[in-house]
Amino acid sequence: MEEVIQDKDLESKEYFINMGPQHPSTHGVLRLVLSLDGEIIRKVEPHLGFIHRSIEKMCEHDVYNQIVHLTDRMDYLSCHINNEAVCLCVEQALQLEIPDRIKVIRTIIGELTRLSSHQLWWGVMGMDLGAITSFLYGFRDREMITDIFEETCGARLTMNYNLPGGLMFDIHPNFQKRTKDFIAHFKKKLPEYDTLLSNNVIFRQRTKGIGYLSKEDAISYGVTGPTARASGFSCDVRKHHPYSGYDKVQFKEILDTEGDCYARYKCRIAEMWESMSIIEQLIDNIPEGPHKVPTKAVIKLPKGEWYQKVETARGEFGVYIISEGQKSPYRLKFRSPGFSNLSALDHMARGCKIADLVAIMSTLDLVIPDIDR
């Protein structure tokens, strides 16, 4: 007897797959539960908290100088910018007048951090798409920045340089020379990045038209940073709410309207050029002055609340301090860019293939400790 094959036997069924917490392209311990129809993604559900350290709760028991050191454990690629955010917030509350020297150095350090973060992102993006070579190219150039940071503040990861009221130490005598050397070096190397990835046919095919995010969705999902600017959402904190030395320098806010992976990629590459131009404008014009404004050993903020946003390499990082006049904040909230950016992942990835999801995640540039906090 021939068995009759019914239509329902041939129907494909959705199945689930656990991407992470240990997966090469989630860049950390992010767990995504994918519902798949064959290779096509129907739903992405993020499960967070694998490295949730409850930093916000810890902050409620720490003094402000200690809190600074917790922030670079969140987005370890934008550590200086995160530190700066807390410092700015505390300084704002204390109404401290910060000398220009500190502002300029903070801006240079911040832009170097952004560059090094984008270099790492570029390398990892290539690796996610299967071009492992780009990873080492990215790290080759990042090494120079890491060396500068090592000389400046003594660490290569989880660096601390900013303190409420200024900087820990003055810049190293080599700092200006090495930074200029790096800019000269990287200006030659950045076009190489384009040769290796941006102009590659396969790379373009893999990223163009993938993971589309409209401007309205970007705003609604709270997406910020280069991810949102590629969709046309003008959200650069450095432009809209300038802090440190950003009101003194000329730079463009990179905006694109495509909103796909390739646009996000282009945005970050263009941002690297902008960062270099910002550093070039400032590096020879560091004003003289003290590197620190005297503050009390244990800072007590007055009663009140302050919100400070800065632009990290991933987007808008916010520090929200509610103080009751104690040496520790009553409540401290970190608005991390990765957390909001992640929420748009499901929206962007639906209907794509697994390989596209990897590309989308890479262009979101997620740092998991930043999301989990």
Partner: protein, 361 residues
């Protein structure tokens, strides 16, 4: 030193010395065992050399040194890796289909062994010289996909399954292009026997003699064969950033080493086929009219020519792998069915026309 140029002397003398002492049946068995042993040694050596080469080549593409610690310039690194892999615990998933799980790596190994048997390494140095050699080789080399499918199916892991399914779709598609691009040259040679194909290139390699269609066929062969060996940019079956390690996610220790080794063996095999069909196999490089030059070239033993060409092709494949990003599965299939296959079919018709008119050299 004659045997270096024509291995018939060597094989005949071995055969004769064996025939003096043993009966014909025993002679056959001993010869088979000898050949088998030779291939096993070759296989092991290939693994050692190619893994080292890949690591060094990739290192140089990435501006680093690669393995440097074990032995001079890290030459013994692969050996150390082999020892490491042998000492690893062979893990099997609780719900895995144990029989198929264990069978899969052997199927892949057997497929590459079988393909290697008919490669003409040098004059007279060929274990199986069928009159359908090329057909046999392309048939056998695609058997490996059964191993990959089994590995993916039996692993009890969805990543493995996706990887295996991708691999199945990919190899079946690209098998067509490999076959057709080889057929383009067969149109010229009129024979599927590998030794005849090599002999027919005594006065020039087909890539030079066959005009543009031969070059087109060679390029298509390079692309398709890279895809057939599951190497980057077509390594979708493994796709470590998507599927962790694809079909061999669950394998460890020796069985993983088999997959690893088979990948390199397959790369060697497709490079050898390419070298044989397009680049004249073990034939030296000749330029018509330049007698002195040709004589010098003749002094280089055929074995060196063969391995030189194969290394060149392998280097090309490594170059691809360490430069390009990976394709997506639908782009991969689009490339084959919408571009390579039609181009290939037109190419073969063009070649047939050229051959008919006698417009090739």
């Amino acid at each position: 030193m004659n045997w270096l140029y024509d291995f018939n002397y060597l094989t005949r003398s071995i055969h004769e010395s064996l025939a003096e002492t043993f009966e014909p049946a025993t002679v056959t068995i001993v010869e088979m065992a000898l050949a088998g042993l030779c291939f096993m040694i070759l296989f092991a050596l290939l693994g050692l050399v190619l893994v080292y080469a890949e690591r060094k080549v990739s290192a140089f593409f990435q501006q680093r040194l690669g393995p440097m610690r074990v032995g001079k310039w890290g030459t013994a690194q692969t050996l150390a890796d082999v020892i490491k892999l042998l000492m690893k615990e062979p893990l099997i998933n609780k719900n895995a289909d144990r029989f198929l799980f264990n069978l899969a790596p052997y199927i892949i190994m057997i497929a590459s062994f079988m393909a290697m048997a008919s490669l003409p390494f040098a004059k007279g140095l060929q274990a199986l010289d069928f009159d359908i050699g090329l057909l046999y080789i392309s048939a056998v080399s695609s058997l490996g996909v059964i191993g990959i499918l089994l590995a993916g199916w039996s692993s009890d892991n969805k990543y493995s399954l996706i990887g295996a399914m991708r691999s199945g779709a990919q190899i079946i598609s690209y098998e067509l292009s490999v076959g057709l691009s080889l057929l383009t040259i067969v149109v010229l040679t009129g024979s599927l026997q590998l030794s005849t194909i090599v002999e027919s290139q005594a006065n020039g390699w087909w890539i030079f003699k066959g005009h543009i269609p031969a070059v087109v066929a060679f390029i298509i062969f390079l692309i398709a064969s890279t895809a057939e060996t599951n190497r980057g940019p077509f390594d979708l079956a493994e796709a470590e950033s998507e599927l962790t390690a694809g079909f061999h996610t669950e394998y460890s220790g020796l069985k993983f080493a088999f997959f690893f080794l088979a990948e390199f063996a397959n790369m060697f095999i497709v490079a050898a086929i390419g070298a044989t069909v397009f680049l004249g196999g073990w034939m030296p490089f000749h330029i018509g009219g330049w007698e002195g030059f040709n004589n010098i070239m003749d002094y280089v033993p055929p074995l060196f020519w063969f391995f030189g060409k194969v290394s060149f092709l392998i280097f090309m494949m490594m170059w691809f792998r360490w430069t390009f990003p990976r394709l997506r599965i639908d782009q991969l299939l689009t490339l084959e069915w919408k571009y390579l296959l039609p181009v290939n079919l037109m190419n073969i018709v063009l070649m047939a026309f050229l051959s008919l008119m006698g417009w090739h050299f």
